[in-house]
């Protein structure tokens, strides 16, 4: 049928044994497809000159229809797998206010009945442990599969997995079961109990910040995490409550103008084009779980696999000793494949099947079971002084979460961090809570809380400008954050902030300056016209980002990179392949994406394995209060980023030790892939690996080719690459293949593997190789000599760790952006047409401009959908009921976009060191919806404080 995908020996190298005895192995199926087709018709391939691509590195498989997505692979494609493949249908609850009384499959004739039906009874009997990201709110049943005789925890909760013999049987069975109200039977509706709503998913976010002429008086960074609603618990809580009371008093009595409003954003679906699909096979003979997945969180999915089987006793039927994850290019992600529930379905199905299983959601199932973007209800009050300066913000952000926590609390947290917009505000009181519901599970999606908060803030900024009679962009410029200011957490902004520059560019743009003339012209034609602006200061990264990369060179000078990064279509693979050029003079010919096991030679351990004795210097460096801050931050990172197969750290011990004293420690080993962490974080790791390879491998080989004596003072940094040749003053230029050949002949360093950790700055350390010591901004290093198969670990010394305070920054990296949007509103239909968009963006140095422009244009499309089109009830009537598809859920089509009138204005990079590339995928989205809303207001003179702004709402408003 199709070609088997044969794994190389290296890819099956067993990883180190870890807690519980589980091992993990990664393969990258698309990498293998990539190898099969390296050139296009002209024979040139994807690669351009060093640092540039002619097209995407994975482009050719995508345009020729090769197997590259998880949905494309079948059991018979997989070498060593049985070729019989079972198909699985997931039955999901369609009610969350009635008791589930029965699962009735009697409508299936005998030949269509499942071979096995997996229910909550199986999970309970076998002691399978579901991961903490599947925690329901208090008071709801704490079972992953909804149990009989209980009320399902949420709409769309899985009830049973039907394992069906083959595809055709599955197909016929699903035709009889789908949309059939007899399958899941319920008792009578249970009236609301009157009990208070469940507590928000933990932890809630409370931000209190007070800054005056004497400096910061209270902040998360200065004082630690606080809860002003429990002032009697901790002194910091009491201080927060006192500070908030002071803020409230000043807002009421200082003569400032108060602006108050409530804003809402809706639940949306990521609606990536490939519904989730994959394969799983529990190889019982070898106690190995095999997965084929397209995922953004390879580490998270492994964590789930580990958690599922960790209590199994040796030789039990469900004893799993290793997990193999075959990682595929996802057909879109936008966050919706980050801690998705889908991999759990695969794991459970394979656990109870007699061989390989395939689950391939259709779009109805994807809507019903896929992760959603949280909606939000946001009430905020802004105080503005007589000069138009923001003096205080008080906000309550209630993020509408679903029936499990997933990432909801962290989405709410980032919404809180964005609650001050891009503005300097000396007094801040923000609550950001993820409120549980009986809706479909919600979590990560593009912007991660930013789009919600920026809609509220940027709508209000326009309202304030209107009330004050000020130009709305000029008002923003006046209040824009600048370098040295503080965020709402109290974190100092260490980099130049170009928000004011963006405002200046937008204010001078002819779309803005000419808007009144254009409005008059279009009015004459019966059209309402308006221009809106919004500013955003979206962060990228998680606040403590662990990344890793390796680069190797063969004797012909061909470079291969390996990374834990996943490319969801955002161009990570291409951008990384270009990023070897800076230090190595050439692009990487191949990119092995989504790898984690490969990096085991770095040998990091988790916090629980730290020495228990503390040093006096560590004690001095980590006061108790700050240690508490660090612990809280770490607990977040464990969920999102921490290495999955290690035991969770024991936060009760060693709070007074400095874990960085252990050279095998890092704070965040691996993180989920989001589109915005490539350009800065992942590229840094790869560039540093390239730098190490050059410094310790290529440069010594070049010196030999040049015949330089050891006493010759030429340094690596005195050389440069020109068109693939290494150039040094007064010396002949050397071709990369010639250097590589010499390097291999001399058995020099042919590979470098690094780990890097960013928390407000890159952790740096000294490394000694071949008698020389270098200081590099990395915290882990291995090298591989030519012809050797194993990596050498190099101990770090003199590590410069993150400051304890930076653990509470929340975020420290930002990509300022702004959007000018022009709309035309048809007063007879209420239809809004976006007619022009200009996005202004500080992206730092661009790696491949076409990729950045593509991200920006895609953000315009998604922003239009968010502002005008997309709507999905979270609860009753929503996707959880199983009958949503693209006939009801409207995303932007080409006709909805101003093709030819979308322009990205990238700010010219600043001089080094502030010229680094920035993550921008979320930044370019965040200003679009509020800019559209502000443009609609400009056109209609009506303010819309909730999304989407539909034609019906506009007509109703125009008639009122």
């Amino acid at each position: 049928m199709t070609e088997h995908f044969v794994f190389t020996r290296r890819q099956f190298l067993k990883s180190t044994a870890v807690a519980g005895g589980l091992t993990v192995i990664f393969n990258s199926l698309p990498s293998m497809a990539q190898r099969k087709t390296t050139a296009s018709a002209d024979g040139k391939g994807w690669m351009g000159p060093p640092g540039k691509a002619r097209y995407r590195i994975e482009g050719l498989p995508k345009v020729t229809g090769q197997k590259i997505y998880a949905r494309d692979f079948r059991a018979w494609d997989m070498k060593g797998w049985p070729t019989t493949e079972r198909h699985v249908m997931v039955l999901r609850a369609t009610s969350a206010d009635r008791t589930l009384t029965a699962v009735d499959l009697s409508m299936l004739p005998p030949e269509l009945r499942p071979m096995r039906t997996v229910t909550s009874v199986d999970l309970a009997r076998d002691g399978l442990q579901m991961p903490s990201s599947t925690t329901p709110p208090d008071g709801r049943q704490k079972v992953f599969l909804a149990a009989l005789n209980q009320v399902p925890a949420y709409l769309g909760q899985p009830v049973a997995l039907l394992i069906i013999a083959d595809y055709y049987t599955y197909r016929e069975a699903s035709r009889l079961l789908r949309f059939n109200p007899q399958v899941l039977q319920y008792g009578p509706r249970i009236p609301p109990s009157g009990a208070p709503p469940p507590a928000p998913y933990s932890p809630p976010t409370f931000l209190t910040f007070y800054n005056n002429a004497q400096g910061v008086q209270f902040s998360q960074v200065k004082d630690g995490y606080s809860n002003p609603y429990t002032p009697s618990v901790n002194p910091v809580d009491a201080e927060a409550a006192k500070t908030r009371a002071l803020i409230q008093k000043e807002m009421e009595s200082s003569g400032w103008r108060l602006f108050e409003g409530s804003y809402e954003t809706q639940v949306i679906d990521p609606m990536f084009m490939e519904p989730e699909a994959g394969l799983a096979w529990l190889d019982r003979a070898n106690k190995r779980m095999n997965l084929v997945l397209g995922t953004q969180s390879t580490n998270g999915d492994l964590s789930d696999a580990f958690s599922l089987f960790k209590t199994q006793t040796p030789n039990s039927p469900l004893d799993v000793r290793s997990v193999v994850l075959n990682s595929c290019y996802p057909g879109g992600g936008f966050g919706g494949r980050d801690v998705s529930l889908f991999p759990l379905m695969m794991l459970l199905a394979a656990t109870y099947a007699d061989g390989p299983v395939r689950i391939a959601y259709d779009r109805f199932e994807q809507f019903q079971g896929g992760i959603k973007q949280l909606g939000a209800k946001m009430t905020q009050a802004f105080a503005v002084d007589g000069q138009g300066r923001l003096q205080a913000i008080s906000s309550q952000l209630s993020l509408l979460a679903g029936g499990q926590n997933n990432y909801s609390q962290w989405v709410a947290q980032l919404a809180g961090y964005c609650g001050g917009g891009g503005y300097k505000v000396p007094r801040v009181s923000i609550d950001a809570l993820a409120q549980p519901s009986v809706g479909v599970v919600a979590g990560s999606m593009r912007g991660f809380g930013g789009p919600q908060a920026f809609f509220a803030v940027e709508s209000m900024m326009d309202e304030i400008a209107s009330a004050l009679g000020r130009d709305p962009i000029e008002l923003r410029e006046q209040n824009a954050l600048t370098q040295g200011d503080f965020t709402v957490t109290g974190a100092p902004l260490q980099e130049p902030m170009r928000l004011a520059e963006i405002c200046q560019l937008a204010r001078k743009h002819e779309l803005w300056t000419g808007r009144q003339d254009e409005k008059a012209k279009r009015k004459a034609k019966g059209q309402l016209y308006g221009v809106g602006f919004a500013l955003a200061n979206q962060a990228y990264g998680t606040g403590a980002d662990g990344v890793m990369a390796a680069v190797e060179i063969d004797a012909q000078g061909t470079l291969r990179l390996t990374t834990n990064c996943v490319d969801m279509g955002n161009g990570s693979a291409t951008a990384l392949a270009l990023s070897t050029a800076r230090y190595l003079g050439a692009n990487a010919a191949s990119a092995n994406m989504g790898q984690v096991e490969f990096f085991d030679p770095l040998g990091f351990v988790n916090a629980a394995q730290q020495p228990t004795t503390s040093s006096s210097t560590a004690k001095a460096a980590l006061p108790k209060k700050e240690a508490a801050v660090q612990r809280a931050n770490t607990s977040q990172l464990e969920r999102r980023n921490e290495r999955p197969h290690l035991k969770e750290s024991d936060s009760t011990q060693k709070s007074d030790s400095n874990p960085w004293d252990n050279p095998r420690y890092t704070k965040s080993y691996s993180m989920s892939s989001s589109a915005c962490i490539t350009a800065f974080q992942q590229v840094h790791a790869l560039e540093q690996a390239s730098r190490v390879l050059f410094t310790t491998g290529l440069f010594p080989a070049a010196r030999k080719l040049w015949g330089l004596a050891p006493s010759n003072p030429l340094k690596a940094e005195e050389t440069r690459w020109e068109d693939g040749f290494l150039v040094a003053p007064g010396l002949p230029k050397l071709a990369l293949p010639a250097i590589a050949a010499r390097l291999h002949a001399d058995k020099g360093v042919a590979g470098a593997m690094v780990h890097a950790l960013y928390q407000a700055r890159w952790v740096q350390a000294d490394f000694t190789l071949e008698g020389s010591t270098w200081t590099w901004p990395i915290d882990g290093l291995c090298t591989r000599p030519a012809s050797a198969t194993s990596w050498r670990w190099h101990e770090r010394k003199n590590v410069v760790a993150p400051t304890a305070a930076s653990g509470a920054y929340g975020r420290s990296l930002y990509s300022p952006s702004g959007a000018l949007v022009a709309v035309e509103v048809d007063p007879s239909t209420g239809r809004v047409q976006v007619v022009e968009v200009h996005t202004f963006l500080d992206a730092g140095r661009l790696i491949q401009p076409e990729l950045v422009v593509g991200q920006s244009e895609g953000a315009v499309a998604m922003g239009i959908g968010y502002a005008l089109l997309e709507q999905l009830p979270l609860g009753v009537g929503g996707a959880g009921e199983g009958n949503w598809n693209l006939n009801r859920y409207q995303v932007a089509l080409a006709k909805d976009l101003p093709l030819g009138r979308m322009k990205l204005h990238v700010l010219p990079p600043l001089p080094p060191p502030d010229d680094h590339p920035k993550g921008i995928a979320e930044a370019v989205l965040c200003p679009i919806p509020p800019a559209i809303a502000n443009a609609v207001t400009d056109a209609t003179q009506r303010r819309f404080r909730s999304l989407p702004i539909t034609p019906a709402r506009i007509l109703e408003s125009l008639r009122s």
């Binding site: 049928m1 296009s40 995508k62 016929e172 076409e850 080409a894 093709l899 030819g900």
Partner: protein
């Protein structure tokens, strides 16, 4: 294997003929995936809205290819027809000029909707080969061919730019 009628289907896919017994209601996309092993045609909405599954179907050899939604067209309705999928676009020396244009314009991102755009444009180009249009009508023709296709990653602009480029660069498609 099925409680629905089983029929014999004779279908030519990318020049190769397949005769299979399948359920009469089997959609073409399932035939391609399950019976032929070609997975380049993508399933996304399953109800004929997003058009990611678009293929070219010719009722008789040499007939004008018709855009066909593989997710919602039963294979029984295509019996005897000739189908071209994304796997059939490239020539022996590599990708077609259309595929090359999609590559060079960075037209797509995740690429899952790309086969649908490629097939819709391929059929537009086939039509223009027989009935060239003035350049002034090109944008409308592209919109007509591709305007209902959903892409979630891009803003469509780079797709449309690639399509314009390849049509304008292909002799005989534009009436001069």
């Amino acid at each position: 294997m099925s409680s629905t009628p089983i029929i014999n289907v004779n279908l030519t896919v990318n020049g190769k003929t397949y005769v299979h017994k399948v359920p009469a209601s089997l959609p073409l996309v399932d035939f391609l995936h399950e019976e032929v092993g070609l997975t380049g045609t993508k399933f996304s909405c399953g109800i004929g809205v997003c058009r990611a599954c678009t293929v070219a179907a010719c009722r008789v050899p040499q007939a004008h290819p018709v855009p066909t939604l593989a997710c919602s067209t039963p294979v029984s309705e295509l019996n005897g027809q000739s189908i071209t999928t994304v796997e059939g676009l490239a020539g022996p020396s590599g990708p077609s000029p259309l595929q090359q244009a999609f590559l060079e314009e960075f037209a797509f991102q995740c690429g899952y909707c790309t086969p649908g755009f490629l097939m819709a444009t391929h059929m537009l180009m086939e039509r223009l080969r027989k009935e060239p249009i003035p350049e002034a009508r090109l944008d409308a023709a592209i919109q007509d061919a591709c305007g209902s296709h959903i892409c979630r990653c891009t803003g469509y602009a780079r797709y449309y730019a690639a399509i314009r480029k390849v049509i304008l660069g292909t002799p005989g498609l534009i009436a001069r």
